[in-house]
Amino acid sequence: MTTVQLTPEAAGLPGFDETLLARIGGAAEPALLQEKRAAAFAQYRELPMPQVRDEEWRRTDPALFPFDRFAPSPRLAPVPRALAASPWDEEFDVVVCVSDDGFSIHDRTGLLNSGSLVVLSLADAATRHPALVERYLQGAARVKAPRKFSALGDAFWTFGLFIHVAPRVVVPNGVLIRYQHRAAGKAVLPHLVAAVSDEAQLTIAEYYESPADAELLAVSTRELYAGRNATLRAASLQEWGARTYHIGEDWVRAERDARVEWVTLLLGGQVSKMMVSCDVHEPNAQAYLSGLFFANDNQHVDQRTLQLHSAPHTYSNLLYKGAVKDQGHSVYQGIIDAAPGAIKVDAYQMNNNLILNEGARADSLPGLEIDADDLKCSHGATMGNLDESQMFYLRSRGLPEAEARRLLVMAFFEEVIERVPHEFMRERVREDVRRKCGEGA
């Protein structure tokens, strides 16, 4: 470990230091994980702490995150059942439950015994499948250098999950991961690594919740990988309580002929700063990225996306829709990045925003960074209020103003909600949106 004198900017979060690293990783973990954590910690130390004067953090002041109020949670250990069963579980082959008490992995359909699907904690995976972990942890899905908070997550993850689908295996019902944290004052750092091998198929659903009154910090990192001609569908529903802070750093990579569909749904939390990066890495890789965010009360949501086309003949289609209400504030920034020589790229990026009252604010910054010609690239953003003629139409059929408003907000989001793979989650999101629109006749 280097012993450079840290400037305040290069400093990290209080408590995330060598002592913690030794405690959270330490001798109890397989050497592979210790090495990976140490490498990430070195990167974390090198990277400057984001400042409000950084372009990326201009609209989301890092000071919005009260880092000094959180103590790192311990690394989670397996328990027989971390969370009570949920009706949602029945729709999946494997259910992973994560709480402050620990984690549990439930093999509902016996698929884990077949060897075609691996769902293990990172610690167990590192012992049983070291080569796979070596390849995918801090690995294949990440195309660009780590950033401050992805390095933080890599070094200090408190729960690591490893999913691997063997070549040509179609996992029929997929994996559900449910996170429920309630211990106030804790920082939780979940890390997910999921690799779908060539010609395999997998659906992952994630759900995050915390009580409204518990102040929590979550730093989540995901590395998703779709091999050649593989299909990966993922949806994450973030329904944190109103005092949870969340930073997310995600990557997904699609190889030749692979298809990735990823929907992120941001509904809860106090301040969320999320980065979704996607690399369509080889010819004919396709990515469909969709997102919904809705900031009401004094919620703040900052959603960034990167569509990286590192090969010619690649396709990406992004649709993120946001609404702001009350004093809510949202920031969307998207980048399409086509590598030099990436011809015949087809990239689409759209961000639609609905501003529901004065005092709410939405910023949208779509963008392109293109080093190639002979490609089809389009991006756009819209900002608007509810459509008056649609309002009148609904009201002329007897719907009271507030109900008409709710229906139109739900209608606005429906295009994204439709892309969520599971009906239970679609219904849940519709309910959330309806609730956030407010009561009133």
Binding site: D387, E388, S389, Q390, F392, Y393, L394, R395, S396, R397, G398, L399, P400, E401, E403, A404, L407, L408, M410, A411, F412, F413, E414, E415
Partner: protein
Amino acid sequence: MSEQLPFFEIRNLHAKVEDKPILKGVNLVINPGETHALMGPNGSGKSTLSNVIMGHPSYEVTGGEILFQGRNIIEMEPDERARAGIFLAFQYPVAIPGISVAKFLKSAADARFGQGAIKASEFIKEMRENLKFLEMNEAFLNRFLNDGFSGGEKKRMEILQMLTLKPSLAVMDETDSGLDIDALRIVSKGVNRMVGPNFGLLVITHYERILTHIKPDHMHVLIDGQIAMSGGPELVKEVEKNGYDWIRARFGKEVLV
């Protein structure tokens, strides 16, 4: 209903849009069981009248009254008017992507008749029956409201809503425009299902054609924001044959001289 309380009466109605006066003293009485036709040149204010009856916020009523079942409805919100039993079939129904026809109809019916007043199973049965009656495919229920609908499909959707909401007073704003013979027959069939002793209807049109399917008891001509002439169904033929100029000329003399 007592003689003193008119079912539907417009008294000396004045309205403007963006500071431009459009309606300049409209008077009209519709009794239960009556069908009235309203014709008039483009821009005479027919759609404005429909919108004002429904309470569109862009139109400002500057004078007069609209009485419905004995109550002046000018101050009522559009949704209150709808729940009270007034329906407007729009000339240009808007599309609402993201709301399915089924969800929309259920929400509207819940608003009009009260949440839970109709059992879901009953409601679906009725929907199917109405769709069949209007010769519409059941797949419509899952489509987004008016989204990508043809002109004729939109107009049938308006009538489907009318059948669902069972208003006691309906205004049809050029529902017939642009419909082919078949669609016109179907739309008329739907409307005639509503016609009865407790239903008042105002059919706004440019063409005699629809009035051979939906028989009016009275006919009015709107010119420059006023009812320039009223008469029986025979007036329809005269307008169809001779246009509006003779009415304008005669009305101009009566009013201006």
